[in-house]
């Protein structure tokens, strides 16, 4: 009889222990852990050398230290040409705090010039318009297959966010929510 009692007590203790252990173990779905589980950015942005339409030669990384918007567009893409004036406005408003690099996939450079000519707006100096006719930057480096798309790169030259499709609230909502907070982050530069 003694042994039976011991068995029952042991079983109860195991049960109680299991209950306690389970209770402290939050519900989990079958998990998979990315090696970079702690990061919330997409790591370093890919650097490339570019020449703007006005002939200025630079690397993307030269703009590190403040937020960069890497915008992919083309003059034949209807949503892109609707969105473009908004980006000009944003660049003009935050001339000292932001660089916008607008990469066009147009085959001919003339198409971009035509489009900009029709816009009749002065392009601010922090808006760099570059031609990527062979789509090396657009597709091979940044995997952009649908236009328009925009990457937000933080002052540490890490990709912070990606915007798929045209955005209508660059100057207010996106600036306030996503870009302005980046101005205060500590940089490694």
């Amino acid at each position: 009889m003694k042994i039976n009692l011991i068995i029952i007590v042991v079983l109860c203790l195991i049960g109680a222990g299991w209950m306690y252990a389970s209770y402290n173990n939050a519900p989990k779905t079958p998990s998979y852990q990315n090696k970079n589980a702690d990061i919330r950015t997409l790591g370093d942005a890919v650097d490339f050398k570019y020449t703007t339409l006005s002939g200025e030669e630079k690397n993307l990384k030269d703009h590190a230290g403040k937020p960069i918007l890497l915008h992919f567009w083309a003059s034949w893409c209807a949503p892109c040409i609707i969105e473009f004036p908004e980006l000009i406005k944003l660049a003009r408003t935050y001339q000292n705090d932001l660089t916008i690099v607008a990469v066009s996939s147009d085959t001919n450079i003339g198409d971009i010039e035509n489009f900009l000519g029709k816009l009749k707006q002065k392009i601010p100096s922090n808006l760099k318009i570059i031609h990527d006719g062979d789509k090396i930057i657009t597709q091979d480096l940044y995997a952009t297959f649908k236009l328009p798309e925009t990457y937000l790169i933080n002052p540490n030259f890490q990709i912070q966010k990606k915007y798929i499709g045209p955005q209508s609230k660059w100057e207010h909502t996106i600036w306030d929510k996503d870009i302005r907070p980046l101005l205060t982050i500590e940089t490694n530069q």
Binding site: G15, S22, Q139, I159
Partner: protein, 601 residues
Amino acid sequence: MIRFFTMLFMIIMGTASTVRAADIDLGNWSSLPILYEGRVEPLDSFARLHVKKFSGRESLPQLSASEWLALNLFDPTTAVNIPVFKIRDAAQYGLTENKKRLYSYTALVQLIQNQQTTINQLLEINAEDWTPEQQHLVEIYEHYILNTQILRSLTLILPLSIGDNEESFLDFRKTQNDLQRKVQNIVSRKGANLENYTDKEKEISFLSYQLSLLENSAAQNVLLRIIPDQWDGAPTNWFAPWSIIRDGTGDPKTLEYIIIWRDMAEAYRTQNQELWDYSVQDAQAYFNNSKLKIETLYNKINLTNVSLFLFSMALIFLVISSFMKSSKINKTLNYAATINFGLGTLSLLTLISMRIYILNRPPVGTLYESILFVALICALGFLFMFWRSKNTTAILLGSISGVILMTAARGFVGDDTMGTLVAVLNTNFWLGTHVLCITMGYGTCLIASLMAQKDLWMRIRQPQNLNFQKQSLRHLKTIVIISLLLTTIGTILGGIWADQSWGRFWGWDPKENGALLIVLWLAWIIHSKISNHISDLGYVMGTAYLSVIIVLAWFGVNLLNVGLHSYGFISGVAKGIVVFCVFQTLLLAFLWRFIRKKRTA
């Protein structure tokens, strides 16, 4: 016309090549991850599940499941000729019957074309009104759609059969928009009649058409979710390769990973083992994949079969031993049986431990897992008894329970035994308490039932052995008390869980009634014995009949398809349950009658 369709098929499926799967050693490729039905699992599990679904087998005559998947992904035009689909009465669908009843995707396409009208009509009516043949036809159609998706999964990165170069859709994508604009220009100038076009214009139009066709046929394909969302630290969202085109989910890291897969495709096509190993290693570097490796190992060693084999061997040795007169041989056979039984229990314990590690939750969440767990409880229980008594009868009873339960478990292996649990079950606390308590209760009840049946048998063989009867009754009382304790606590915990999940403690749901039935049965025999309303024999009979009560409460109520425990509903086992219950009832009735008769005599 045939050439045109052949060409279209090649465009949609990617490029043609004539490699054999066995020429590349897949190595660790099978343990790369994929998100399928809410769970991240190795490609090996995905492959096995689909091979089993299509063919009803674990692997194909000349290919393992992973090799079949690799062939489908990297060499679709060869894969379409591999017989993988099980079709009953193929002749009625115009196919030539073969012994193995396995047919290729190409044959399936022919079947679907012949039966398209019938299938469309069937899909219009209620599934419950289908005959078994009609159900089989719809199943074939579903398999066709599923395999089509698998075949098209990587067409984004496979070289296209366009021109002499080996460029993929991803490369052609750079020129696609320009081509479309050129075609628009040609059409606006010359109309839609091809005869008015120059050779160059025809080439441009055809290339643009081919690319659009490929994109339209494959872009909706989201089955092969092999790319984790790079933005998410512990990704819950995974993408199929085509979604970088369709949904804009591409980014530099995703592209890096896709390029690795493109290298794999090239290695597979060119039979370059070195490039293959290098690419697979690169892909593996993205993941902390110890779980994926364990799951691949789990798939390979198939411990369900190993345990069943070892329990069967133990049983066979003991049966042979009972016919042997030489005590030396008897001793050897008993020893061999004990070793086999011990190893069977160990492999079952390993199987359950691996599942706990892979699924990151307590061992019982599905009916299949409950069978494994009950088998383990029985095996451990009988091992404990053997350790205490040194009597091989415990090994015999344990082997019987092991063989029966593991055979039942094998019936569920075809389904995804590691599938995601329904939301209500996804709580480690209740899975670790209520469910384990109840299933342990099932296990101890089965132990009690088997011991009681052995007791009845001994009452026939050695009616004068009162010492054994007394000792057996004592053991039965202990195990029945433990069973009552576990099932009662388990049922009450279930009520609390039901209160939290469904807002009521008790709802007279069939599953709840089943649990209550066990508790009441156990309480009845215990109290009847204490109050001397039943004899020792009655008590043993009542305990022996627990097996029927357990089977009804465990499986039987799931057949009713009523109540809130819908995640446990099953079908197709009614016959088995009826046979078991009738057999047990008749056996116990026979034993009862025989013992009574012997006593009277």
